[in-house]
């Protein structure tokens, strides 16, 4: 357990004092954001090709004169000097004006605002189920590690963790969609009609895919965290003092064991939005993942920057949230580790 605890974000609280701690963390996050913003700007432009293909079919583009090309590039902002583009981009980020999509002329914020709720619904549902199942099974696997059930759970988790999302998604489509014909295979609702029942029905297969492929990792993390606590000195002492097993587990094992799981879960939420790109593409789910995929395929710089920004912010935000909520869960973090 000590290895895990020593790296926990809240464990330095007492050394610096709360204000200096928050200022330090704030600076760290600002630095991370600055690097991420720079990468979000640089990565689209580092890709081979460019957004010119969005302005006509290749045969028509080939006929354009150098002046016409320059005019398009300048008009749509990708022909200006890089430093100018970067400044415009930064200004846009801080004024929440992320520009317009080169592909369809929509404001990037509007495209993201339309897609994000679908991703939050998908990822949110999946993370809740993944957390409940993954943590419960992880605890079970840890407590019964010497029994056949525990070993079976571990083997199952390793297997689930290694399943590619694309493969599982297609398998589910073929089995539940094509063979049994009991579940829809694409989209968020029946074409043109959005109903709660339809949305729920369309959510099942993508959520199952995300959950099944995400559960193994959480199981293994919970299990190893639990094992570390079970073999720690305080628990050994409590056991030696004759504390009943049920009470021992509830009071002395679960809480410390689940603290790092909480951190990893928060980070998972941030990363899942990006991780849903494959699932959203397989199931034609119109969320942020698919928007990102389409933006990359089209080399739509403003849309790529916008979606990358949201994904970055989600990861950083969840990281910060894990930092902030950790002291609430761990009294030692509130008191700087002194007891």
């Amino acid at each position: 357990m000590t290895d895990v605890q020593e790296t926990l974000p809240g464990s330095t609280l007492g050394r610096r004092g709360s204000w200096s701690y928050f200022a330090g963390r704030g600076l760290e996050y600002a630095l991370v954001l600055a690097v991420a913003l720079t990468l979000n700007f640089a990565l689209p432009r580092a890709l081979p090709g460019g957004p010119m293909k969005l302005f006509g079919n290749p045969e028509a583009l080939a006929r354009l004169t150098a002046e016409e090309r320059a005019q398009i590039a300048s008009e749509y902002g990708f022909g200006q000097p890089l430093w100018q583009q970067f400044l415009d981009y930064l200004q846009g980020v801080f004024t929440l004006d992320l520009g317009t999509s080169l592909a369809d002329g929509r404001p990037v914020t509007e495209a993201i605002a339309t897609a994000l709720p679908w991703t939050l619904l998908l990822v949110g549902t999946s993370i809740v189920i993944t957390a409940l199942l993954g943590v419960s099974l992880g605890v079970l696997g840890g407590l019964r590690r010497r029994e056949g059930k525990g070993a079976g759970l571990l083997a199952g988790a390793i297997a689930l963790d290694s399943i590619p999302q694309f493969w599982l998604g297609m398998l589910l489509i073929v089995f539940f969609g094509v063979k049994l014909q009991v579940l829809p295979t694409f989209g968020v609702s029946d074409a043109g009609v959005v109903t709660i029942g339809g949305v729920a029905e369309h959510l099942i297969l993508p959520v199952v895919t995300l959950t099944v492929t995400g559960i193994g990792y959480l199981f293994m993390y919970t299990r190893s965290s639990l094992l570390a606590v079970l073999t720690s000195q305080p628990v050994e002492h409590a056991h030696a003092r004759g504390v009943p097993r049920g009470r021992l587990v509830r009071r002395h094992v679960l809480r410390p064991a689940l603290l790092p799981v909480h951190t990893i879960l928060m980070l998972d939420i941030g990363f899942l939005a990006a991780g849903s790109i494959v699932v959203e593409t397989v199931f034609a789910y119109p969320g942020l993942g698919r928007l990102t995929f389409d933006a990359i395929a089209a080399r739509d710089y403003p849309l790529m920057q916008g979606t990358f920004l949201v994904l970055t912010v989600m990861v950083v935000l969840m990281n910060a949230l894990a930092d902030l909520t950790y002291p609430l869960l761990d009294p030692r973090a509130r008191t700087g580790g002194s007891r």
């Binding site: 045969e59 080939a62 593409t281």
Partner: protein, 542 residues
């Protein structure tokens, strides 16, 4: 002698390839209904692979299927019916010299918002396209020198005689409503409120996340829609599209059925296939500016080592036509002919020996002091091309030429072969798998752009080929005043291409599309457009 365009086109009419493949398969070039399913439907759901924007001629994202969907909303003056140019918004199209076209417009046609269609709309459209050339369905109207109207008759005068003008421009130029488009400044931002044409279907709903809904235009003057509502949904993944077709969630997939899935899909109850000739070409480029590919003898020898029939049989499982060495599709209206590949491994070896390219210790030939070891670029997204590249590697290995296959993202290949779609930027590759879309085979002008030495004219010359004799032939081809003369020059050009071998034409893949025959079987094959074309949805009375 005055000739109607219909008569001109009739001289071009060719027999369509019939590629039926057993039960449940509709045959190319014929109307649907062969498999016994209904030829009317209330609602059809069609899957496309990506969003197509607001479906104006300036905002659709792709030629196929984007332009096909735009043409449900917007009519051109004429249309292709089979191989014939047939007047559509025009009542009649006449020319005496292939330079001045007199177009009598159809009376009583209305825009989908109820306004009358007039000659002013045609004049406006030509001017508008001239000022706005960007957009996937935008038309290059620069060949039109002047356009005037007298009552309901429009006269278009070209810069020079162009017998291909009706097929190339009149059948493709979507006519825009003057009253809605005259205030448009930025075509890239044209919204669905501007997706109003005279066509058989109205766009009634568009959501970038969920797709499109079209409703039949009850006032359509040129025919009767066969389907009341067409829903178009976006499913990016190929296998997910075919899965949705199997479940009955969609009624048609706009993806070409991969060869390895033809049998499985065709044998499934309720699913039909419609297939026919596609004009898209798959070729292997030589960078003719880079040694040793700047030597025609080297290109010829390597081309002789490649068995295009084997590529079709193995990579496409026979679902394609082996490439003619002269490049132009044998059924192309430009006058394609079959020039058989000169595949002959012994001859390839002998020619390489004659060049002094002796084999080294590792079996790889050495030419001019350098091993004949080259990189072949291939688009990672194309299974067919990846397989073809593997086969080519084996074939060239057999004559002592080593090939390293680089499988890259399609944009990465384009960035090396055709940086920024501008041949003036040069090129950076040895050999590359490549393909030209079907419409390239539709006109002499476009074919000429593939080979002109001067980059200003050879805007598609991605191999950097330069040859004065070919340039002279291209001049003849693009200036010949009649179709007959152009066909004759095209024949000579194909002989020159087969001799110079700036690329190896590997194959023309067949088009095959899957649909639910139990819900709708009115699909009609149209060359250059496949099954997703207006004749699949409308009973025309042209």
């Amino acid at each position: 002698m005055r000739r109607t365009v219909g008569a001109l086109a009739a001289t071009l009419a060719m027999m369509l390839t019939v590629c039926g493949s057993g039960g449940g398969t509709a045959e190319g070039g014929q109307t649907g209904g062969q498999t016994g399913g209904p030829d009317r439907a209330d609602t059809l759901t069609i899957a496309i692979s990506s969003d197509e924007g607001t479906l104006t001629p300036f905002t659709n994202e792709t030629g196929y299927p984007g332009n096909n969907l735009v043409k449900l909303i917007f009519d051109p003056l004429a249309t292709l019916q089979g191989e014939d140019v047939v007047p559509l918004l025009a009542e009649n199209i006449e020319t005496t010299d292939n330079q001045t076209y007199t177009i009598a417009l159809r009376e009583g046609v209305k825009w989908q918002d109820g306004q009358p269609f007039t000659a002013d709309d045609v004049l406006f459209s030509v001017d508008f396209y001239r000022a706005n050339m960007l957009g996937d369905s935008a038309i290059d109207v620069r060949p039109i020198k002047d356009v005037t109207a007298d009552g309901n008759t429009v006269t278009m005068t070209l810069n020079g005689p162009d017998p291909e003008f009706p097929r190339r421009i009149l059948t493709d130029m979507a006519i825009l409503p003057d009253h809605l488009w005259k205030s448009v400044d930025d075509v890239s931002k044209a919204g669905t409120e501007l997706a109003v044409g005279t066509g058989p279907y109205k766009l009634t709903q568009y959501n970038p996340d969920r797709g499109y809904t079209f409703e039949a235009n009850a006032d359509y003057a040129m025919g009767k829609p066969k389907v009341q509502t067409i829903k178009v949904v976006v499913i990016p993944e190929e296998s997910a599209q075919f899965a949705a077709l199997r479940t009955g969630e969609i009624d048609m997939s706009t993806r070409i059925v991969p060869p390895q899935q033809m049998e499985a899909l065709g044998n499934q109850s309720g699913i039909g296939l419609i297939d026919g000739t596609e004009f898209a070409s798959t070729i292997m480029l030589f960078n003719t500016e880079r040694p040793p590919f700047d030597r025609v003898e080297v290109r010829q020898a390597l081309a002789k080592a490649i068995n295009v029939q084997d590529v079709v049989d193995t990579a496409l499982l026979g679902q394609g036509v082996p490439g003619s060495a002269g490049f132009i599709h044998p059924e192309s209206p430009v006058g394609g002919k079959v020039i058989k590949s000169a595949y002959d491994v012994d001859a390839a070896n002998a020619e390489l020996d004659a060049l002094g390219a002796a084999r080294g210790a590792d079996g790889i030939r050495v030419l001019d002091g350098k091993p004949m070891s080259f990189e072949l670029l291939v688009q990672s997204s194309s299974t067919d091309r990846l397989r073809s590249a593997e086969l080519i590697r084996e074939m060239l290995d057999a004559v002592g030429v080593a090939v390293k296959i680089s499988s890259l993202d399609p944009d990465a290949v384009t960035a090396k072969v055709w940086p920024d779609y501008d041949v003036k930027n040069g090129r950076n590759y040895d050999m590359s798998m490549w393909g030209w879309s079907g419409p390239v085979m539709l006109s002499s002008g476009t074919i000429a752009q593939l080979l002109y030495s001067d980059p200003a004219d050879g805007t598609l010359n991605v191999v950097g080929y330069k040859d004065d004799a070919v340039d002279a032939t291209l001049d003849q081809l693009t200036s010949a005043p009649t179709l007959e003369e152009r066909t004759g020059v095209a024949s000579k050009l194909q002989d020159q291409i087969a001799e110079a071998m700036p690329w190896v034409t590997l194959y023309y893949r067949n088009g095959a599309y899957a649909f639910r025959e139990d819900t709708y079987d009115g699909w009609t094959w149209q060359n250059f457009k496949g099954a997703l074309n207006n004749f699949s949805f409308v009973d025309y009375n042209l």
